[in-house]
């Protein structure tokens, strides 16, 4: 059977189409392994330098020595969740940005892949990539601190990360729209989205220390609930019962943000096609 005949007589399987994007990202990752090492080291240094603030706080008497491990864990969770979240957002915003740099955007977007499948392929890679990188940073960070992890509920933490990842993917797809709409400034704008999430979500502090008007913004950031849930189950040893509401909230965020971001992406793509913005840049 010729390739033409094969192509005409079968409907391409959606999983295989989505796999194309996963495989491509994996191939790019292999070529940029040195950058991956750099990001890993950067993540580790960032994690250590923020978490050592707890040692300083104890040494200077700002917190008691008894409270130090809790502060250490609080900051460690913040840095790791932030590393995870920013890696997902970065990978997703590369959906358009990288293709613009390489000039492949037109070839990819004219291919017969449904956009949902395209974005799901990118999301699966982004989430797994972020998870592996964050796990390595965690593994390398742990020997630097004396942490009591016996009562931590790791299963609940994993469930919260999995459920929360859907909403992060939604945010990532929304961030990917910016480079499509604004070829020259979209990249910087997507970093601004990350910066806002960092500010209002309580990454290194509780959201109740924020001014009231910023606390309002924290309610609409899924990262707020992701961080709160992970701190509850790892720091306060909370179980599924007490976290059910929070997990439900994260699930609702995912159920709303993912379809909303896909619809927004569709509108943005149409607008880009109307104004001629699907072109190479850089």
């Amino acid at each position: 059977m010729t390739i033409a005949a094969v192509q005409l007589t079968r409907q391409p399987r959606r999983v295989a189409l989505g796999w194309a994007f996963f495989e491509r990202q994996a191939n790019l990752w292999k070529r940029f392994w040195a950058w991956e090492v750099v990001w890993l080291l950067y993540g580790l240094v960032n994690t250590l330098s923020i978490t050592f603030i707890a040692n300083e706080a104890a040494k200077s008497g700002a917190v008691s020595h008894a409270e130090q491990p809790r502060l250490t864990m609080f900051l460690l969770i913040g840095t790791l969740v932030w590393a995870y979240l920013s890696a997902v957002l970065e990978d997703m915003s590369l959906t358009i940005m990288w293709e613009r740099w390489e000039g492949t955007i037109e070839h990819t977007l004219m291919s017969p892949v449904p956009r949902v499948v395209h974005l799901v392929g990118m999301s699966v890679f982004g989430v797994l990539h972020a998870f592996v990188r964050t796990s390595l940073v965690l593994a390398c960070s742990l020997p630097f601190f004396h942490l009591e992890l016996a009562g931590a509920n790791w299963v609940a933490a994993a469930v919260i990360v999995i459920v929360g990842s859907a909403s992060l993917v939604g945010l990532g797809i929304l961030a990917a729209i910016l480079p499509m709409l604004y070829p020259e400034r979209g990249e910087q704008m997507s970093y601004m989205v990350q910066a806002l999430v960092l500010l209002v979500s309580g990454v290194y502090y509780s959201v109740n220390v924020l001014p009231n008007w910023l606390q309002v913004a924290s309610y609409v950031s899924p990262a707020t609930y992701l961080l709160r849930g992970i701190r509850d189950v790892l720091l306060n040893h909370a179980g599924f019962d007490s976290e059910a509401g929070l997990i439900g909230t994260l699930a609702i965020f995912g159920a709303v943000l993912v379809p909303l971001s896909l619809i927004a992406f569709g509108f943005a793509e149409r607008w880009a096609k109307k104004t001629g913005r699907l072109k190479r840049q850089g």
Partner: protein
């Protein structure tokens, strides 16, 4: 899908295609904080048909609207007015049905440069629904035919010359076995040998696979050598159309046809030289 009468839909039917881009007007004063925008026509009522198995050439200077036309046909740009039908499917309303039927080679061989040719082809083959082994088999066959060996195919694309990269771009376009192929200045910037190899592959593909081709170029000899019919695009308008011989006859004015070059025909019919380097088109 257009099923009017018994007529088989043509590979490409373009009717009254119009597209304008809004561009910022030059800043003349310090008065306003916002620059005004004005519309610049890239295509103005372009109509033509391409028949099965035909190579149709669109000739025009830079900025004449060639790339805008190819982008609209590729479903990457929405026209303001007019319609495009690919094998009967509307390229705007039925883009999902159009996309599997066509592929494209652009002037710039755009790839993920850190990846090898095979890895790139693997990706671009998979997004057209081909399996890994199918892509590998077809890629090797096409690249060998184009004179690119397996060793080059495994190197990162950034180590390949411009000509080699363009051959991989041709392979990418043929990988999906398109029924309509859009070649947007595929040989621009290639050395004479690579140019000849790509041209002969295109001619062979039309002969052996019956693929219909739309070729945009500003290379007159390429158009004459490859195209069955040619349309002259100037300032977004299709000002003349016909076989190379028909076009020569239009301007011969009694001179023997072999004394009338396509360059003369172009100047006569469009009022400008093909080399005229106009402002880069917005689309």
């Amino acid at each position: 899908m257009n099923t009017a009468g018994e007529r088989q839909p043509l590979p490409l039917e373009v009717e009254e295609l119009t597209k304008a881009f809004k561009v910022k007007a030059p800043r003349r004063s310090r008065g306003g904080w916002r620059r005004q925008r004005r519309a610049r026509a890239a295509l103005a009522g372009v109509s033509f048909n391409v028949h099965p198995g035909e190579i149709y050439g669109v000739l025009g200077a830079n900025g004449s609207g060639k790339s805008t036309l190819v982008r609209i046909l590729s479903t990457l740009l929405l026209p303001d007015e007019g319609s495009v039908r690919v094998f009967g499917y509307d390229a705007v309303k039925e883009a999902a049905s159009v996309r599997p039927l066509l592929n494209r080679v652009s002037v710039d061989p755009s790839f993920f440069k850190p990846m090898s040719a095979m890895e790139n082809l693997q990706f671009f083959g998979r997004v057209y629904g081909l399996s890994g082994p199918e892509v590998r088999r077809a890629s090797v066959a096409i690249l060998e035919r184009l004179g690119l060996d397996g060793e080059h195919a495994r190197e990162p694309m950034l180590h390949l010359s411009r000509g080699q990269q363009q051959k991989v771009a041709v392979a990418r376009a043929f990988l999906s076995a398109p029924r309509l192929l859009l070649l947007d200045e595929p040989t621009t910037g290639l050395d004479p040998r690579s140019k000849r190899e790509v041209q002969s592959f295109v001619a062979e593909a039309r002969r052996d696979r019956g693929v219909t081709i739309l070729l945009t170029t500003h290379d007159m000899s390429e158009a004459e050598q490859l195209c069955d019919r040619v349309g002259f695009l100037s300032a977004g308008k299709l000002v003349a159309e016909g076989t190379p011989v028909e076009l020569r006859k239009m301007v011969a004015a009694g001179r023997p046809l072999d004394e009338v070059g396509m360059e003369d025909v172009f100047i006569e019919l469009t009022g400008r030289s093909i080399e005229e380097d106009e402002e880069e088109e917005a689309g």
